[in-house]
């Protein structure tokens, strides 16, 4: 795999099977990004359960599951604050002694039966671990009992310690990040034969280890792309799709934070595409010069050792800012030719366009997962045997970085319909850009004159947020009050967005957002993905013409 892919993906990243979109979820769980279990006291049970792999296998795992809760692999992401006194109760539902170790925590106390590396909970019994989370950072927890069996079986998870008073710092002010873009990338590997041996009581010989499954946050590609908590992966609640918007010094200045950990048995060469990632810490300690200065370093390949954690800051910069309208490719730069792209089973995440935020032509029959011209980059293990599910590519230790258009997804009005008045000239196409082409509506000709029409939008995914309308237009006579409305499908009514704006004989731009909940404004069923925006201009007793120049909808797709 190579850096530099943009909208077009190599066959490596083309999907095998794509599951339907997410079911309703508990509102506290974000669709993407780290899912914290917050607290200072945690109750975990070491218990068996099954994971599903994308090739249709199911594999017995052992994990630390929330006591009384659903089995999950890996164990919950424990999030605490610096200075907290942390207590972890471990109940053992397995048939052999189990324990927990907390690398990077000093002075771990507690109770249990003395074991080789830590106090243990005997089969059916309990142990308790206590420590003060003295330093912020990304850590792991894992079994300290018969590690060559129990860690292989899945007894591991992540521990996050946030700086006191600064949940938006990884460590210190130099590591400030956008809290909306915090990601865990927990790498693990599985030899299903060893798991089968445990399941069937067969001989377990770690020297026979041959890993066949490779996971990020407990899932294999392409399941890694699915939302957190999807119903069809009940034992694997954590997705790992990474999402960013292009860096912007004013509107998007903060980097994403990627907390990487390797709980597997081998070192993994992780390969992030798109831009360099900046390593700022290792094993829960910021990288510093002897004088206390910044010793971070940038990478386009990062080997993460077995048992290690590494923290990365990541900003994606649109170096060339190509735009089909305002900054098209110079003649010397060839546009990408979609015929040179490869597609697997007619599926792609390519937008068909090399311009961020716009979609282009794809070969007939190709199903695109691309929503609105966002770009996808593979992030994966560069050990290609780990980029597989049971030796079949592509799968395994891989996910995607999704770069969303800077202003969100944008859709121009695809249709224009008149509610009151008559068509003067133009079509909906004239509403696509603020240019010299206008969609013109004659007002009514009796009583209080009005011009009342709406634009129709399609393909807005359910669950989109941040809906915003931009209208640019003018009238043939001065200062007519104009209001924007959005159609609420759930009540079949128009809902006015904000106050009237006076619009005269030169172009005025109005931006409006609908009231929450936004979900009612996106059609479902037969009207799936449809949004309607109404422009109502009220005059007096003189005829006028409303001239619409631009009508567009922006939104953040899920």
């Amino acid at each position: 795999m190579h850096r530099g892919f943009r909208a077009f993906l190599p066959a490596a990243a083309l999907l095998v099977a794509f599951a339907p979109s997410a079911q309703a979820q508990a509102p506290a769980i974000p669709r993407q990004g780290i899912v914290c279990t917050n607290g200072t006291t945690f109750d975990l049970t070491a218990t068996p359960g099954y994971i599903e792999t994308p090739d249709g296998n199911s594999v017995l795992m052992w994990s630390y599951a929330p006591t009384g809760g659903q089995f999950q692999s890996p164990g919950p992401v424990l999030c605490v604050n610096q200075g907290d006194s942390v207590t972890v109760h471990l109940h053992n539902a397995l048939t052999e002694p189990v324990s927990m170790v907390f690398p990077g925590q000093l002075g771990v106390g507690g109770s249990g039966t003395a074991g080789l590396l830590a106090d243990e909970a005997p089969a059916g019994g309990d142990a308790t671990y206590t420590f003060t989370a003295s330093q912020p950072g990304t850590y792991i927890y894992e079994s300290g009992s018969d590690p060559s069996k129990q860690i292989e079986m899945g007894l591991y998870g992540a521990l996050i310690v946030r700086p006191a008073g600064h949940p938006d710092y990884a460590y210190d002010a130099a590591t400030r990040f956008d809290p909306q873009r915090e990601y865990l990338v927990l790498l693990s590997d599985i030899d299903p034969d060893l798991h089968h041996a445990v399941e069937t009581g067969g001989a377990y010989d770690f020297n026979q280890l041959h890993n066949r499954y490779f996971a990020i946050n407990g899932r294999q590609f392409p399941d890694t792309l699915q939302d957190n908590g999807v119903s069809w992966l009940p034992g694997q609640p954590y997705g790992s799709l990474l999402r960013v918007k292009p860096y912007n010094a004013t509107s998007n200045p903060l980097p994403a934070l990627i907390r990487m950990a390797n709980v597997g048995t081998v070192n993994h060469p992780f390969h992030p595409h798109g831009n360099h990632i900046k390593e700022v810490a290792q094993d829960g300690r910021a990288l510093r010069t002897p004088g206390g200065g910044d010793a971070s370093s940038e990478h386009f390949a990062a080997t993460i050792g077995s048992g290690q954690t590494e923290d990365y800051l990541f900003s994606w910069k649109d170096q060339d800012s190509w735009n089909p309208g305002s900054n098209p490719f110079p003649a010397s730069v060839a546009s990408p030719d979609y015929r040179n792209l490869t597609f697997k089973n007619g599926n792609t995440w390519s937008s068909g366009s090399a311009y961020l935020g716009s979609k282009g032509t794809l070969p007939v029959g190709t199903v695109s997962q691309n929503i609105c011209g966002e770009w996808y980059f593979p992030w994966h293990s560069h050990a290609l045997n780990e980029f597989t599910n049971y030796d079949a590519g592509f799968g395994g230790m891989a996910t995607l970085l999704r770069v969303d258009p800077p202003g969100g997804c944008m859709a121009p009005a695809g249709t224009a319909s008149i509610l009151a008045g008559t068509l003067n000239s133009g079509t909906a196409t004239d509403l696509a850009a603020a240019d010299t082409a206008y969609y013109k509506v004659n007002s009514t000709t009796t009583g209080t004159r009005t011009a009342d029409w709406y634009g129709g939008f399609a393909g807005v995914p359910g669950g989109s947020t941040g809906l915003a309308v931009t209208y640019t237009g003018r009238n043939s006579i001065a200062a007519l009050p104009t209001t924007l409305w959005m159609w609420k499908w759930s009540t079949s009514t128009w809902v006015q967005m904000g106050a009237a704006t006076g619009i005269g004989t030169s172009d005025v731009t109005v931006t409006r957002t609908p009231p929450s909940p936004e979900s009612g404004f996106i059609g479902t069923g037969a009207n799936s993905g449809k949004v309607r925006v109404r422009v109502l201009t009220t005059g007096t007793t003189g005829n006028f013409v409303t001239q619409g120049n631009l009508l567009k909808l922006t939104y953040d797709a899920p």
Binding site: V101, G107, G144, G305
Partner: protein, 294 residues
Amino acid sequence: MRRTLVLILIAAGLTLPASPASAANVSIDLCASAGTLTLPGPVTANIWGYALAGSGGSCAGVTPSVPGPVLSVDQGDAVSIVVHNTLTTPVSLEVPGLALGQGAGVSAPAGGTATATFTASAPGTYLYQGTERQLPMGLYGALVVRPPAAGQAYGSATTAYDREALLVLSAIDPAFNAAPATADLYHYAPKFWLINGKAYPDTDPVHGVAPGTKVLLRYLNAGFDNTSMRLLGAYERVLARDARPLANPFDATAETIPAGGTEDAVVTIPASGTRFPLYNRQLHQTMLTFIQVP
């Protein structure tokens, strides 16, 4: 010959810093001989190992060890190592990181000798070793070059330590060692994972430390896997790799020592805790030892 060579018994695993002397001529006579290594089970594996020769360079009655004896010299010493080969195949000696007068290495023919000379030009932790099939048989050991300042791993005072422990990491596949000339390397598969030639529970803990003690860990990876070592209950500050000090030392709880590489790290014993496990995080469980208070 002025004798500034300090020999450290592998079994001890830990020494007080040696006091350095001024540059000198140092001559070391090593035997490369066949022997056995007893591993948990018990399993007896055939080995080839280095041993210190007796007087006059005699190899009569010497017992080779895996790893070989720890060689300790002072920075600036003019060192000459004579290999007396009692095996029936040639044996090499190389010291990656130090420039030998003979080039990359020397080779002693079966029953013969070879001499490697070098100046211990830079302080640090080095491997001395044979090549190819001699390595999995056990022909490797540690060479420590000490800087002028006593109690420091390198020239900088930030590399000061109170105690030191050598950790030669390696592995043994008894099937290979039973037939080193003919074994198919495609099937090479170690069964025993060793620290200083011993598999847990036979490994030697690092005893005698107290809160605040700075323990210098000199890792030498004589095996064939990049090896990640986990430390619990404390941090190690990684000071040097391959006998070169790092510009920016860093703290770690899981550090990978590449095959053939060395690394120096200092553990400052924390105020709480009395037993700090140090083990192979790639889950080869017998590569395990402890740093223990007292």
